[in-house]
Symmetry: C2
Subunit: 177 residues, 2 copies
Amino acid sequence: MNPTTEARPKKIPEGELPAVAVSASPREKLEEFLATRGLRLTQERSAILDEVFSSHLHFDGDELATRLASRPGAVRVSRATVYRTLRLMVEAGLLRRVARPNGREVYEHDYGYPQHDHFICRVCGELIEFQNGAISEILEEVAAKNSFRVSGHRLEVYGLCSKCSRPQRRHTKLDLL
Amino acid sequence: MNPTTEARPKKIPEGELPAVAVSASPREKLEEFLATRGLRLTQERSAILDEVFSSHLHFDGDELATRLASRPGAVRVSRATVYRTLRLMVEAGLLRRVARPNGREVYEHDYGYPQHDHFICRVCGELIEFQNGAISEILEEVAAKNSFRVSGHRLEVYGLCSKCSRPQRRHTKLDLL
DNA sequence: GTTATTGCAAACCATTTGCAAGTGT
DNA sequence: ACACTTGCAAATGGTTTGCAATAAC
């Protein structure tokens, strides 16, 4: 019940990191986060962490659970725990949610990775990342005028990717929104 | 089964409308849309249309269904029909979906209303609209570089509204993402 | 030894859908 | 008459949660 920050190993200089400099590994970051909450780094959480950061791809809870289940010698992790842990990792600043037009919550790395947004193809559903500092700047300006304090944003740009905008377009069951 | 555009009353100059000029009422637009699809403007759809355009507020399917149910002399409209019609109205270009961080799909007018985006307060959940043409321009540029063909976007800017960023902040159960 | 954590299965919950009855043209 | 529509209730489907068993510190 002690509210002071007694357990805070290595004060990491957050905020203005140069878009590439990673001060600590995702694992360290997670450990730090868990410590400050009196939570534990269990085998399950560790396995999830490994799987999540094994590649820089977008994924959803279900996929992740399936991937974990198919790892040969690893700990079994229930779907429930996967979802619970994903929530933790979002709170810890390791992951970020990126909505997709079909109800599934899609995640991506948010730690040690520069801010970016996405193009989302209405046909094939592919996510294409892009970076543009001007957008954040504009948002800050507009926010100031509205006395709004920005802490983050989610920008989804819909349309057709180069593959799907070719002459002979195929029909896919994906035209929501 | 005739694919020609036989029923197209009043060719409306879409696209570059001056942000205020409304060429036809939402009802006309819906009728036109339904006609081209061989669909009907039923009492239920009509009632939903009225309710939807009775105020320029954001709403979700559930809310709308409840509102409709509480209208004294009006037709009863089932929840299922409300959802079905909302989908139609999105396709017709009358409504647009604006995601909210809690799973419910939020709608807003998209016809006769200028393109805009939203600030979303993490504390009170309020949606504040703002307009900024520069953002769309930037997106077009970046998209061109990525051979992506933009058809629309959804930008949600999270943070604190002026009310909630005052010194003594209250605690609310709303801190997702 | 506590207290946090997990797995399971059931619960959630907004939205969708099958189907038989009803309605618009 | 012939689709298109509706309402109802059941189904969906990703995500969450209650609870007893289990593991971490």
